[in-house]
């Protein structure tokens, strides 16, 4: 600590170089943190949105195949099932923002609260959802992306059903990672009735189980119930459902990680370059310090500390700026994206900032090691010989 003034003064020796290096480190850490929000998006999605007592029941052959709506009541009768909600994919596109899509489903409103209590939807909103045929409950990610408010009317045109429907937003799912758009099954049924069709199918049935221990048993029971019927089912936990869904993104995530690794390496080289330049220029001074009795370990320590102070302060600043930066990016490009799914949430967590800070500390440490060691161990006499 008593050497801190010396360290700081040395950093201020060449303010331009310290500034340039600090800015580079800060920028790089900011970038790394930003990109780390992407794979974190999947993990958080799985841990925050998926529940361990909720399972999905869908056609064994694929989500493109439908099941008879009658299945839902049969599922409700199974012991261990607390509630079930049959949903139908709507494939809605919001034309006003340029034909953008987000996951939209026709659901059974009276069962939403029982199947998704962990979504913490306002009970008053659920009540309105039950009451108003054209009501809609929307996830916060989509609400924020398009600036929607409760009470607002929005129109979605379906890409698979020959209808365009106008909804009144009556509530939100208060989770910034949820892009969902839910409305009443009955509303869709009425709309397609005008084309002479009947809505008799269901795409996925979401089921809430009473206890985690019962989950496997119920899943087996359900699949057995519908085996050998025209629509064989596959029940799976919600986590497994989403993991499969996003499993395909692993390749892209791998590239993100490779790229951030390269950026980290790049900034390490920048810091190492600066550290070695600084030490080289001060060869004489370091020799004088060692001559008057500053031991090798002390010289080594102060030089490494110098590198670490710069990297930690600069990198820490960059890590904290991630919040502001991702907020700006979200304005431009956040929200659900077809290519990226949950990767485009760009939400920062303290864990990510912590990782950025750790990177900064490591960069400071590693970049300073070689020059500091060299300076501390070069024979003092030979340096003095060269210089004096």
């Amino acid at each position: 600590m008593r050497f801190l003034p010396l360290i700081l003064r040395n950093l201020g020796r060449n303010k331009l170089r310290t500034g340039l290096t600090g800015a580079a480190i800060g920028l790089a850490v900011l970038l790394v943190c930003f990109f780390l929000t992407m794979p974190a998006g999947i993990d958080v999605f799985l841990s925050q949105i998926a529940s361990n007592v909720r399972i999905s029941v869908h056609h064994k052959g694929g989500l493109v195949y439908q099941m008879p709506f009658a299945y839902v009541n049969k599922i409700r009768a199974v012991p261990g099932v607390v509630a079930a909600d049959g949903v139908v994919w709507f494939g809605g596109a919001y034309e006003e923002a340029g034909h953008v899509t987000f996951p939209s489903f026709a659901v059974e409103p009276e069962h939403v609260g029982a199947v998704w209590p962990d979504y913490h939807i306002d009970p008053a909103a659920l009540e309105r959802f039950r009451r108003f045929r054209d009501g809609a409950i929307v996830g916060r990610q989509t609400m924020e992306k398009y600036g929607w408010k409760i009470g607002q009317e929005v129109s979605l045109h379906s890409t698979i059903w020959p209808v365009t429907l106008t909804f009144r937003i009556v509530g939100e799912i208060p989770n910034a990672r949820s892009p969902l758009f839910w409305f009443q099954r009955e509303y869709l049924a009425q709309a397609i009735h005008e084309h002479g069709w009947v809505l008799s199918i269901v795409g996925i049935v979401w089921v809430r189980i009473a206890d985690p221990a019962l989950v496997d048993g119920v899943m087996n029971r359900l699949d057995a119930m519908f085996r050998n019927s025209p629509a064989e089912t596959a029940a799976e936990t919600e986590k497994s459902f989403f993991a499969s869904y996003f499993g395909s993104l692993q390749g892209f995530v791998a590239i993100i990680l490779v790229v951030t690794g390269l950026v980290a390496l790049c900034v390490l080289c920048i810091a190492a370059n600066t550290a070695s330049m600084a030490v080289r220029e001060r060869a004489r001074e370091i020799a004088v310090l060692r001559a008057i009795g500053f031991g090798r370990r002390l010289i080594f320590g102060t030089l490494v500390a110098e590198s670490m102070v710069l990297a930690t302060v600069a990198g820490g600043t960059g890590a904290l700026l991630t919040y502001a930066f991702t907020a700006a990016v979200k304005l431009a490009a956040g929200g659900w994206s077809t290519q990226l799914g949950p990767l485009s949430g760009f939400l920062v967590s303290p864990a990510i900032v912590g990782q950025g800070l750790l990177l900064a500390v490591v960069v400071g440490l590693v970049s300073g090691l070689a020059p500091a060691y060299g300076a501390a161990h070069r024979p003092v006499a030979s340096v003095l010989r060269e210089v004096f």
Partner: protein, 235 residues
């Protein structure tokens, strides 16, 4: 005479420079009494700076023993030498003495950072040392803001602040004008006389003979001769 403070016995020092081997010192033996003001003189390449490096433990002899204040320096490890140096030796160089980013006071404080003294105590001692060399008014200035002569006096202050046994000066007046050189030499003589410090100085300056007690002549790594200085005349 009392037990000499410094003894070199059959000391040799060689090192490699590219493909050649340079014999900086060959079988040199000398003693220096406690409290003496000694000059080592000779043409360049004579090995006088090497003697200083060996005396202060910055360098190790290839052969022979170096004794300072009862300690055989060969017995100490690299790190132990550094610690020993901090306590027993004060160093002054020809140039590049001072850390440019530190003020005069902070420069003088440097050796004290290696002691257990508190911050307040360190500053008090540093200020005292600066006062001794007459530069208390320059405490807050950085080296670039003071003259060459003043920088050397700050270096002297730094050399004495930790109360060492020996002050070692390598060409302290080499870069100075006549007036400043006299100031510095006078200061070193006072340290020897009044403060009972042993001062060993390497110099080209022939005027130095008027200030010192003993002059050692070296040439090509060999000790040629010893003669008393003319210090008595100035006393």
């Amino acid at each position: 005479m009392a037990e000499p403070l410094i003894t070199l016995r059959d000391v040799s020092r060689s090192y490699e420079r590219g493909h050649d081997v340079v014999h900086a010192l060959a079988d040199v033996s000398l003693t220096i009494a406690s409290g003496a003001f000694v000059a080592l003189m000779g043409p360049s390449g004579s090995g006088k700076s090497t003697v200083l490096n060996l005396l202060s433990g910055i360098d190790r002899p290839s052969a022979g023993d170096v004794w300072v204040a009862g300690q055989r320096l060969n017995d100490l490890s690299e790190d132990a030498l550094a610690a020993w140096r901090a306590r027993h030796i004060g160093l002054i160089f020809q140039f590049y003495n001072l850390i440019p980013v530190l003020s005069a006071l902070e420069n003088v404080e440097l050796p004290l950072l290696l002691t257990p003294f508190s911050r307040a105590e360190r500053l008090r001692r540093a200020e005292t040392a600066l006062r001794v060399v007459g530069l208390a008014s320059r405490a807050r200035h950085v080296p670039s803001e003071i003259s060459g002569g003043e920088q050397q006096r700050v270096a002297v202050a730094r050399a004495i602040v930790a109360d060492p046994d020996v002050i070692i000066a390598d060409e302290p007046t080499g870069d100075l004008d006549a007036r400043s050189a006299d100031d510095v030499l006078g200061m070193l003589r006072d340290l020897s006389r009044e403060f009972r410090k042993t001062v060993v100085m390497v110099t080209h300056d022939s005027r130095a003979t008027h200030w010192v007690d003993v002059v050692y002549h070296l040439e090509k790594g060999l000790l040629l001769g010893v003669q008393p200085g003319d210090a008595e005349r100035r006393a």
